[in-house]
């Protein structure tokens, strides 16, 4: 009998094979070999690409190197979205490995945030965790934690230490049993065809009549287009961590088990493949 805990491990240890290729217009001394890497789905691009940078710096002239950024088929990849979200949003249903183009020039300031060091990532990560706990527990849990606990969360993510991370994160996943869930579910819905970066609103895990809300309930309220009628052909896929949970999955369970380390449930709505 598979246990719910196994889901946490599967989510944590999810990896995407990626092939990093230098943008052809970059000036190199020699030809740049592509670089292959297994990217943790739950981490951030700029956090796990030191090796990529090192690899390409070998063939680049120092004066040609500005801040490194990534792009996939013309879309600049936002480092502050988890890697899994970027992949699901832009590259699901494509052949693996995921081909990512690496740039060292012409940083697209209009599309991307700059990321000078991992301190910036840490600050972004912690603020997202805090935002999530504001939804879940009015920030009470995260504020009650000590500084070292916050550090342990971050170090757990940075060093890919599942146990270290979850030893603290479980406290963020607690809720009073009589309430049946968090105060609100921290979620973000991403759509490829939307101008808004994502949808994020307060949403309760349990209805006022006491029914557990499901993924379907959430989508119906936030993004009705994603919920197709029975007879319609499926227009959209609703993807979390590369899988499509059924609409009747309780949202509270999803939030506890399929959230990213930043404690948000990142949901990607992408057009269904035609075939």
């Amino acid at each position: 009998m598979a246990d719910d805990k196994d889901v946490l491990r599967d989510v944590w240890f999810g990896r995407i094979p990626a092939c990093f290729m230098l943008y052809p217009d970059e000036v190199t001394e020699r030809e740049a070999e592509p670089f292959y890497l297994l990217l943790p789905r739950i981490s951030y691009l700029t956090l796990v690409t030191d090796k990529v940078k090192k690899h390409f710096l070998k063939v680049l002239k120092a004066e040609d190197v500005e801040e490194m950024w990534f792009e996939y088929e013309g879309t600049p990849l936002k480092w502050h979205y988890p890697i899994g979200v970027l992949f699901d949003l832009h590259a699901s249903n494509t052949a693996l490995p995921w081909s990512i183009t690496v740039h060292f020039k012409h940083f697209p300031d209009r599309d991307l945030l700059r990321c000078s060091s991992s301190v910036v990532i840490e600050a972004h990560f912690m603020s997202t965790v805090k935002e999530a706990d504001a939804f879940k527990h009015k920030s009470q849990v995260i504020n009650d934690m000590q500084k070292k606990d916050h550090k342990q969360l971050w170090m757990g993510l940075q060093n890919d230490k599942f146990d270290q991370f979850w030893a603290i994160n479980r406290k963020l996943m607690e809720y009073p049993t009589e309430e049946g869930g968090f105060r609100y579910i921290p979620f973000r819905i991403y759509q490829t065809l939307s101008d808004r970066p994502f949808i994020q609103k307060p949403f309760r895990p349990v209805s006022s009549e006491g029914h557990a809300h499901t993924l379907g309930d959430l989508l119906k309220e936030m993004c009705p287009a994603a919920v197709c009628q029975d007879d319609d052909p499926k227009k959209y896929q609703v993807v979390i961590h590369g899988i499509e949970p059924l609409f009747e999955t309780p949202i509270q369970w999803l939030s506890e088990h399929l959230s990213y380390p930043d404690n948000f449930l990142h949901i990607c709505i992408i057009p269904a493949p035609n075939d």
Binding site: M1, A2, D3, D4, K5, D6, V7, L8, D10, V11, F13, G14, R15, I16, P17, Y36, L37, L38, L39, P40, S43, V48, T49, K51, L96, P97, Q158, N159, D160, K161, D163, Q164, W166, A167, R170, T177, E178, G180, V206, E209, G210, H211, A212, H241, G242, I243, E244, P245, L246, E248, T249, P250, W253, H257, L258
Partner: protein, 1194 residues
């Protein structure tokens, strides 16, 4: 806690009950009786029916209520006839009781009432003090009365034997009338009834105080209600200073009544020795102008209702001050209130007659927070609504005239039902003719004060003509009959005046309504005259009547005396579609959710995803390099060398990942010695167990490795706070499991053990564990803690695991792991439940006699503490004695314990010549010291993979051990109830380990230990130490047919038995281990006991006939341990007794079971090449053992 029941009566007199787990009122259909009052206890419910008789409904149990009648046959020897029934004139009767003073021939015994039946015929008892006697059961003595022996001697002049016969209470789960002859002396019928008092004393078991009030305002006490006599024996009148209208008896020693005049009567002096109490005290009504009409008491609370329906709460009530100190007005208007277990409160609201539950009643806030209506439908509701009119009609009609008197006609005659049917038919057309049928709603008014609630003088009047000649009503529901009305009225007046206090309100009801319901009395019964005083009145309601148009149930009375709710219970009673119930559904419907499609989909898709995204790319580099992770902390360490003391140390765990993703780690303890920095370390993969040792001063835990186990000297560490300790324990335990690749629930082969603190540990056996001749040493076994708190755990190799708590609650393993302090990853989520346990802490009060003042608490200077533990060495006063650890909290006050072996006097004292000596329960001239034991209960709440198996508390359990590949539809499981009954569980299987029901196995005496071995051999030990073999147990005959008495080893009383595949081992009270010789398939009882070892506390024989024990004392190189797990070495098919012992984890262990481990060791052909150190390595080609579906290597 299993579900319990709330009882209620609606205005039609129908009794309903509502389970704490249920969502609808369940109609008690079995009786065609209408009730006016119910009062419930956990085990039964008493009621007053409309026939004014008292009825009792004892809840059914799989263990029958049995009572043993016994009588002695006495004989004297004479030279002519030998032993014969010719006794000397000065001798006792030929048939007598044990003292010889009572003449008791066999035929003088009759069941006390129709509710009892004989189980079998009389038979001779052949067991004498645990020893089998010769055939015939005679015991011999020189003369009456004298000491009897089982052997006939030359000077044996008299002999006697005991005859036994059991009778059984048969009227369970049905309303049984309390026999008339017992109530015959009562001058008038009962008006109110209330039971309680079960918390006054635990002995005798099942004792209940039942109080009743007659219509004339007199108070009666029912004497002799105990478990073995649920009906009680006699009514005793308790004189009162005034006329009482209503009475309420709390679970403990509170008893309040309400007087006609509106004041309260409070009973004082209720104690264990005097449950009736001694004196009455009057307490005034809360408001001077409005008298009280109703009172309800609990353990520490009193609630009251005044005539204006206002609700009052009494401040300051407790058992020392039963009167309390003052009234507080509460919100809400109620008709009546009832206080149940735990001081929880129910009421019937004045406004809509709905049952309300008082929310937020806790120990600290006894008055609660708010009233909340219980809104669940009745079970009849659906069918009811369609046929509402007719069923109301028939209910009304049914009620209007007729009361079935089972006393006169125990079986309901056809006439009865015919009449009723006819009557119903007669009524129907008249109402059919009416487009909007008038609902005739007869009301059971609780008492006359509630009379104002309904009155309607139109419509039909249910009236019955009183006929003296027959007990069966001839006519029912006739049109209003003025003559009858007058007659009834006259009756009322007559008896009111008779009662001496014509209260206007009393007569008001019956006079004005004049729809008196008359009891059918037997001719000449004085009750017949006064029966019209009955407060059971029939009313007719017009359509304008608000109650009539309303569909929700109208309640008349509620009783929560059998309903257990504590502050964290979640009741599914409110808004049946609301939050509470769906929460319930969410938390309880684990099995459906587990198999829910969405969950399956996620599991499947995740593994598909991993395959898709990772399978072909394993050669890719990982983005994040693995590194070492260090966790550090400050702790104290119990220094290994002398003088032992706590040292401040730095503690660190370094964890690193191996190439295969498995983790390993090292523990470091950094300390300073002689200004030099040093450290001690242990490899995580060598740690065999982590044991929390929590006490009130330090939060410590012990770490063992095989070496430390040999030394009997663990690494002992103390954390600064409890939280820190548990954080470390959870982390270390996770690391240990990770390093050994254990991440799943215990396997079916697992070995379970329990420490004396109730902590549960489980170990996965390696195939080499039972290898011969070189098994894995048992100090190398890795033990992992499982949440929960148990005293005993038993299992078999089919994965059925049962436990018993200190409070005797039975638990079944849910298949999960973790719980307790193992939160997060070290715990499964779905099958962890709350578990509670209760145990008793004892202290002793010691006194010495001196000639001047008698016994005082001034001892000699050499004496023990005047308040001490059992040994007298440690001072234990009432105030300084704390619960065993911070996890326990007191749930009772200190109370004298009378149940001490050796007996006590009325104040609980035991006497002796000096400390320490053997104590006896009465004072003699030679006694100079005395002591008494005080007991206090404490409770622990934790979580673990255990689910309760209600309702019978157990003291022992055993499950058939079987081979690893065996499949079994029905797994034999036997148990001993806490009362000593032998039970056999039906419906137990791997899928339903809790089974379905108990089958009671008849015995002559209470038992304490049972064990079932291969081919259904069942052995059991009785409380008196005698041992029995159960014959003919098989899968077809799971309970077997008879007991064979097995003589005990010479001069020893056995206390525990364990039966493996073929071996039978037993432990006696002096710690000796015995092996049963000569057990063969044709002679399973064996021939004699052979002594194997002393110093043994418990034994567990497994399916391979492996023998494991808990040894009392084991000497290690550094220290000695008490309660140590040991295994018998050298046990082989032809040498079942083995040769020597192998010592494992300890001390502090209390129980072990190896009955799940059926893993045969691989045959080692060349033992000389394999040394014991390597035996952990699994030989090639061997299938890894199955672990609940997962295979587990290493």
């Amino acid at each position: 806690m299993p579900s319990t029941l709330l009882w209620a009566v609606d205005v039609y007199g129908r009794a309903y009950r509502l389970s704490t787990a249920g969502q609808q009122w369940e109609h008690c259909r079995d009786a065609h009786l209408e009730f006016k009052r119910v009062t419930a206890a956990l085990q039964c419910c008493w009621s007053i029916a409309c026939d004014h008789n008292i009825y009792l409904c004892v809840h059914g149990s799989e263990v029958p209520i049995r009572f043993r009648e016994e009588t002695y046959e006495n004989q004297r020897w004479n030279p002519v006839d030998g032993f014969s029934d010719r006794l000397l004139p000065s001798d006792r009767w030929q048939w007598s009781d044990v003292t010889g003073l009572q003449h008791q021939p066999l035929d003088s015994f009759q069941p006390p009432s129709e509710n009892w039946e004989w189980e079998a015929d009389w038979y001779v008892d052949e067991n004498f003090g645990g020893e089998p006697t010769e055939k015939g059961g005679w015991t011999y003595a020189i003369d009456f009365p004298a000491t009897y022996t089982k052997d006939k001697k030359w000077n044996s002049c008299v002999r006697r034997r005991r005859w036994l016969r059991y009778r059984r209470y048969k009227s369970q789960d049905t309303w049984a009338k309390i026999p008339l002859e017992q109530t015959g002396s009562l001058p008038d019928p009962f008006n109110d009834i209330s039971c309680g008092g079960w918390e006054i004393t635990e002995e005798p078991r099942g004792r209940i105080s039942l109080w009743a009030v007659s219509l004339q305002g007199r108070v009666w006490f029912r004497d002799g209600i105990v478990h073995f006599n649920p009906e009680g024996s006699v009514w005793e009148e308790v004189p009162t200073p005034g006329e009482v209208v209503q009475i309420s008896c709390g679970p403990a020693d509170l008893l309040w009544g309400v007087l006609w005049e509106g004041q309260f009567l409070v009973r004082e002096g209720i104690t264990r020795d005097c449950p009736k109490g001694t004196t009455w005290v009057v307490v005034e009504s809360p408001s001077p102008e409005v008298g009280a009409i109703h009172v309800a008491v609990g353990v520490n609370v009193v609630w009251a209702v005044t005539k204006d329906h206002k609700v009052w709460f009494r401040r300051g009530v407790n058992s020392h001050n039963p009167c309390g100190s003052g009234w507080i007005g509460m919100v809400g208007e109620m008709l009546m209130i009832n206080v149940g277990l735990n001081d929880q409160v129910w009421g019937i609201s004045c406004e809509d007659r709905a049952v309300h539950f008082r929310q937020g009643v806790t120990v600290s806030e006894l008055s609660g927070k708010a009233w909340k209506a219980v809104s669940v439908p009745r079970d009849s509701e659906r069918s009811h609504s369609s046929a509402s009119a007719s069923s109301l009609q028939s209910a009304g009609c049914f009620f209007g005239g007729e009361v079935r008197l089972q006393s006169q006609t125990s079986d309901l005659s056809d006439v009865d039902s015919e009449t009723e049917k006819a009557a119903a038919e007669r009524v129907l057309p008249s109402s059919d003719a009416d487009e909007a049928p008038k609902k005739r709603i007869p009301k059971v008014t609780s008492d006359s004060f509630i009379s104002e609630l309904v009155s309607d003088r139109e419509g039909q009047i249910g009236q019955r003509t009183l006929t003296q000649a027959t007990s069966i009503p001839e006519e029912e529901c006739a049109e209003g009959d003025t003559e009858g009305k007058d007659k009834a009225a006259t009756n009322v007046l007559h008896s009111s005046s008779q009662s001496g206090s014509p209260d206007p309100q009393w007569s008001n009801v019956d006079l004005e309504e004049a729809q008196t319901h008359l009891t059918v009395g037997t001719g000449g019964d004085p009750a017949a005259d006064t029966c019209s005083l009955s407060s059971v009145v029939t009313y007719n309601l017009g359509t304008e009547e608000p109650y009539g148009s309303d569909d929700h149930p109208l309640w008349a009375w509620v009783s929560g005396g059998g309903c257990y709710i504590d502050s964290h219970s979640q009741l599914p009673w409110f808004n049946s579609t609301g939050l509470a119930s769906s929460m319930q559904a969410m938390s309880l419907s684990i099995t459906p959710a587990q198999t829910a499609a969405w969950r399956k989909q996620i599991f499947e898709q995740l593994s598909e995803r991993s395959k898709r995204e990772m399978e072909n790319f394993r050669h890719y580099e990982q983005a994040i390099e693995q590194s070492v992770w260090v966790k550090k902390g400050s702790m104290q360490w119990w220094r290994d060398w002398k003088p032992h003391k706590w040292l401040d140390v730095q503690f660190a765990l370094e964890q690193f990942s191996g190439s295969e993703g498995n983790k390993d780690g090292i523990l470091f303890i950094y300390y300073t010695f002689n200004d030099e920095k040093k450290y001690l370390h242990a490899f995580i993969n060598e740690v065999t167990i982590l044991v929390p040792v929590l006490n009130n001063t330090k939060h410590t835990f012990a770490i063992y490795t095989p070496e430390r186990t040999k030394q009997r000297w663990p690494i002992r560490l103390a954390a600064a706070t409890e939280l820190e300790m548990y954080d470390w324990l959870a982390l270390l335990s996770l690391s240990c499991c990770d390093s050994r690749g254990i991440q799943s629930p215990p396997s079916k082969q697992a070995i379970w053990s329990v420490t004396c603190k109730g902590d549960i540990f489980v170990s996965e056996p390696t195939p080499g564990l039972e290898a011969s001749p070189y098994p894995t040493p048992c100090d190398q076994m890795f033990w992992c803690q499982v949440g929960g708190h148990l005293r005993i755990v038993e299992c078999n190799s089919l994965g059925v695991v049962w436990g018993i708590g200190y409070d005797h609650t039975a638990w079944v393993h849910t298949g999960g792991y973790g719980g307790g302090f193992f939160q997060g990853l070290a715990s499964s989520t779905d099958n962890i439940y709350t578990q509670t346990d209760v145990k008793t802490v004892y202290i002793y009060e010691n006194q010495r006699w001196n000639p001047v003042t008698g016994y005082t608490n001034k001892g000699l200077p050499t004496d023990r503490y005047m308040w001490s533990d059992a040994s007298g060495l440690k001072e234990c006063t009432k105030s300084n004695t704390k619960p065993p650890s911070p996890h326990w909290s007191w749930v009772s006050d200190w109370a004298i314990d009378y149940g001490v072996s050796g007996g006590t006097d009325r104040e609980g004292w035991q006497y002796a010549a000096d400390f320490p000596a053997s104590y006896h329960g009465h004072k003699t001239l030679k006694d100079f010291v005395r002591r008494r034991r005080w007991a206090r209960k404490c409770k622990l709440t934790t979580t673990g993979p255990w689910q309760e198996v209600p309702p019978i508390p157990l003291s022992d359990v055993t499950i058939l051990p079987c081979g690893p590949k065996t499949t079994m539809e029905q797994v034999p499981l036997w148990a001993i109830s806490s009362k000593g009954d032998v039970l056999c569980r039906l419906g137990v299987s791997s899928l339903t380990p809790a089974g379905t029901s108990w089958l009671h196995v008849g015995t002559d005496q209470p038992f304490k230990s049972v064990s079932i071995g291969g081919v259904y051999q069942v052995w059991a030990v009785a409380r008196d130490g005698s041992t029995f073999y159960r014959g003919a147990v098989s899968s077809q005959n799971p309970a077997g047919d008879c007991w064979y008495h097995i003589p005990s080893p010479a001069a020893q009383k056995l206390k525990q038995v364990s039966v493996g595949r073929t071996s039978v081992y037993a432990v006696d009270e002096n710690g000796n281990l015995w092996y049963r010789h000569g057990v063969t398939p044709s002679y399973p009882q064996g021939s004699l006991w052979e002594h194997i070892s002393n110093n043994v506390r418990k034994v567990s024989v497994g399916p391979l006939d492996q023998v494991w024990i808990i040894a009392d004392k084991v000497q290690g190189s550094h220290s000695l341990s008490c309660g140590t797990v040991c295994r018998r070495l050298g046990v082989q098919p032809l040498e079942p007794k083995g040769q020597s012992w192998d010592y494992g984890i300890g001390g502090g262990w209390d129980h072990i079971t190896v009955r799940g481990n059926a893993l045969e060791a691989p045959r080692i052909l060349m033992p000389s090449l394999t040394d014991s150190g390597n035996s952990r390595v699994m030989p090639h080609g061997l299938q890894p053992p199955e672990m609940n579906g997962n295979t587990v290597g290493h």
